[in-house]
Assembly symmetry: C2
Homo-oligomer: 372 residues x 2
């Protein structure tokens, strides 16, 4: 009998994530499972923390890969830092910031949204004005909007948020490992990311970090965190406490994979990896321009790793993507929400940000275009 | 430079989980990552669902491996089915049922605990009496208590709970795949498990299923589920909806692993696997008895896959376990909570329930005993 797993085959992942897993990461994930209290595994955890500190640009004590995908990271920082009734500002310009607002509302926060058009960046001046209108406990934004390919001014907004005394939450799911991130300099109090974007590990883990200001809020909550699984005061005991108290069974082999992907980035050098993303982005942009494919985002605020472009005139969105996938073995991403059917999202994340990947895509695209 | 991952080596995992990952599962996890909307991956998801239905003994439509470890499964069923103020009864006789109570309280439930001594099973008569005292919205229990090695009367309690009109939540983290489970016959409304016990896949996934009665409660909630990541009405759209709407990026390679571990169980036959657990338990019990090591649980309610025994007189708990681990490459589990320092937990889960594993342990144990 043929089984579904037999049909899984190598595919060039140029969508919004997952990206091309490093071959060494597959090998690492296949290392023998250890117990979650094994001293050898504790050392793996310690190395992961130290490497994530470099990527996040932080001296925070609390750096933990949460046992869930990127959205679990979002849930983690918000459920730990929000109490019912807290006034929260979410700055939105895409699916993932709107998701932050939805998560915060479900947690009982009193949420205001400051909305910018999809495809445009956040304007710090408007943020400043909003912060003068109301005193917020927490302000949340996305650094690299995966749904639109826009880079938001994380440092400028951080400066403003701290001036007003609020906690600053930043989503770096798509940017971590592919752009410079300075959690400490940008005054970010809680940050989360995902393993499957520029880290090029499979999905399943969400690196999270919190500042001492964030921990003050966490430890002075009136009620316990209404989510036992993601309560960072408990999770941190296992990841950083002196006694390494068991909380929940860590996803051992996934963490091997994450550890190896971080080795890859350390070996290349973070700056070099960031530079490679930028170079490959420019290389792709040149090629797309020759094919007449247009970006939807102004050059000044484009993300290198997530290239959102207009579906070419006369091309059927879904049909072209399916042809790319099945005839050429290449996945690119569809548009989400308001962009569905109109936008393609081409990922250049981590191990996917290579000349050979871009060349393959640029060779295949003309064969699936203009056939509506 | 030597790195922590280089020191990870094959270890015989005879603790309370993770168990010995099937070699074929490591291979499956190393298959190429696909996108989470790839039609080939959707087929993998569909096969996982069908196989989990067999293991759970259910015709429920909703069967999903939640993107988190076993405790995420606990969080999932409780956060979806509890609303603030709901009267909830948690039947406790170990760490994991006490954790259910803690999760429920954090969700704002009005929790009563019906406590039985650790190491003793739940008494259905006492449950029946308690159910006459108060009308509960939900009653929660653990089938196989991983902290004590006790098997609770899941079918009898289910009958009682339904007679009183409450929803019935059952933890099968340790029993799934190693004992017969009949979610439908036992009238279980929400059940969760873990990938790293009798399924012998690494930790990271929590199979969950909900009955139509549970879904009625979910869809008639007054407020949205206060946890976006684990909201089953959204997760189910991706796993079972006609449009397979994207919710969060699934942990692709972990799901390959789970799929392969389920193939292994299907190939062996579930009944055969269950029988093997029972046989190996008896084989181990004989050997332990020859060594003078005593069980803490009455024979009639011992779990086959989790053997809780007294730390032998004159043996230092931690020292003996560390010697087993580092001199003999065997992990067994420490006691939790009230059992810390007094109890060892010997796991015979999934691929660990083999004669060769038991033989290795029985040969090594005398070498680490009686050296206090």
């Amino acid at each position: 009998m043929e089984r579904a797993l037999d049909k899984v085959s190598e595919t060039l992942l140029m969508g919004p994530g997952p990206s091309m897993t490093y071959p060494s990461v597959y090998q690492a994930m296949a290392k023998p499972t250890l117990g979650h209290m094994d001293p050898r595994f504790i050392k793996v955890m310690d190395e992961i923390k130290e490497m994530l500190k470099v990527l996040f640009g932080t001296e925070n004590d609390l750096v933990v890969p949460v046992s869930g995908t990127g959205s679990a990271g979002m849930e983690t920082v918000l459920v730990n830092l929000i109490e019912r009734g807290d006034p929260v500002l979410v700055i939105t310009n895409g699916v993932f910031s709107e998701r932050q607002a939805e998560v915060a509302r479900r947690l009982g926060a009193d949420v205001d949204c400051l909305a910018f058009p999809w495809g445009s960046p956040v304007d710090p001046k408007a943020v400043s004005e909003q912060l003068n209108v109301r005193q917020y406990a927490l302000v949340s934004m996305v650094h690299a909007e995966t749904s639109t390919g826009v880079c938001n001014p994380a440092a400028e907004v951080g400066e403003l948020v701290h001036r007003h005394g609020a906690l600053y939450v930043l989503d770096t799911v798509t940017s971590l490992g592919g752009m410079e991130i300075s959690v400490d300099d940008w005054k970010v109090d809680a940050v989360y990311s995902g393993s499957q974007k520029c880290l090029s590990c499979p999905p399943g883990l969400s690196p999270v970090s919190m500042s001492s200001r964030a921990l003050e809020k966490l430890f002075s909550r009136k009620e316990k965190v209404p989510n036992w699984y993601l309560d960072m005061s408990l999770v941190a005991e296992y990841w950083a406490g002196k006694k390494r108290t068991y909380h929940h069974t860590a996803p051992i082999n996934m963490l091997y994979g994450l550890c190896q992907s971080l080795y890859e980035i350390m070996d290349e050098g973070l700056q070099e990896a960031v530079l490679r993303h930028q170079k490959m982005h420019e290389y792709l942009a040149d090629g797309l321009s020759r094919l007449g494919i247009e970006f939807i985002v102004e050059k000044s605020c484009r993300l290198p790793m997530l290239n959102a472009v207009k579906v070419p005139e006369g091309t059927d969105d879904a049909e072209a993507r399916m042809k790319l996938l099945f005839d050429h073995g290449i996945e690119i991403g569809a548009g989400l929400g308001a962009f569905a059917g109109k936008v393609w999202r081409i990922g250049l994340m981590g191990n996917t940000a290579r000349e050979a990947c871009v060349d393959r895509l640029l060779a295949a695209l003309p064969k699936v275009m203009g056939q509506k």
